[in-house]
Symmetry: C2
Subunit: 139 residues, 2 copies
Amino acid sequence: MSYSIQEVAKKMNVSTYSIRYYHDHGMLPFVKRDANNNRVFEDSDLEWLHLIICLRSTGMPVERIQHYLDLVQEGESTVPERYEMMKAQQSRTLEEINDLQNHLKTINVKVDHYADVLINHKSDDFVPSNVRDAEEVQP
Amino acid sequence: MSYSIQEVAKKMNVSTYSIRYYHDHGMLPFVKRDANNNRVFEDSDLEWLHLIICLRSTGMPVERIQHYLDLVQEGESTVPERYEMMKAQQSRTLEEINDLQNHLKTINVKVDHYADVLINHKSDDFVPSNVRDAEEVQP
DNA sequence: TAGCACCTTAGGACTACTAGAAGGCAACTC
DNA sequence: GAGTTGCCTTCTAGTAGTCCTAAGGTGCTA
């Protein structure tokens, strides 16, 4: 199966700009061109792209992704380094999920508070004020 | 309690650059200055900053945060809009956590695969190759 | 009084996109 | 055959948010 850049963008839920950016920066080394110079994506390119999206979304910088993809193409001797990279990314992602879950708790408190104010017509505890001395200036 | 910018940076685990950026862009409206024009942070400023960090980390753009903080200072009449903003952020964050958990699965597969190659001296299934026809070119 | 550590502002560099301009090519209608 | 649509292309410029550097002020301390 072959796909145009737009089909890939829709399928993978990323912008065509991003795909071109990844391609232009050597992260999609096997993408071909048709007679009109348009990019032609095969299923195997989608797998590469999927991994790129996965690594980017979990915070790996483009430069590191480029390096990882170079290692893949270099062959089996680079497996130890690739293993370390993926382990690092694994713990980074676990940390990120944990952070987000903590931030979510803060947001939940806000949502519950505002719901309370709206439904029970309670007053907003967090009295806004431009006067610092009021001591109730809380976001 | 009062804190210098560096103390705040350490306490909240952000750079002094970011704190200055937030302050310069009106997101820390109650931060005072001392006789030498240095920023002086009170505990209430830390609460504001904590919320800013929470919203930024969950992907809210600075412009939206500014708007939210304006609403807080405007008073109780803005509670409905603030409620909607926090609900939107809540679902955005849940989605983000879900995405990350899916990406983590992909990374786990890589880690397990590489561990298998290393420990059991198996060969790397994903044979790298510059020749597309090999059909095994997988990241 | 010299050195150090902190602070300040102004401005530039950086990443990873994002968007717009200007144009090519194919398929369609009029 | 001309025009329109719609996709693609490259090139260039802009953006957000963060980081860094330069140049300078202040205060402590030995």
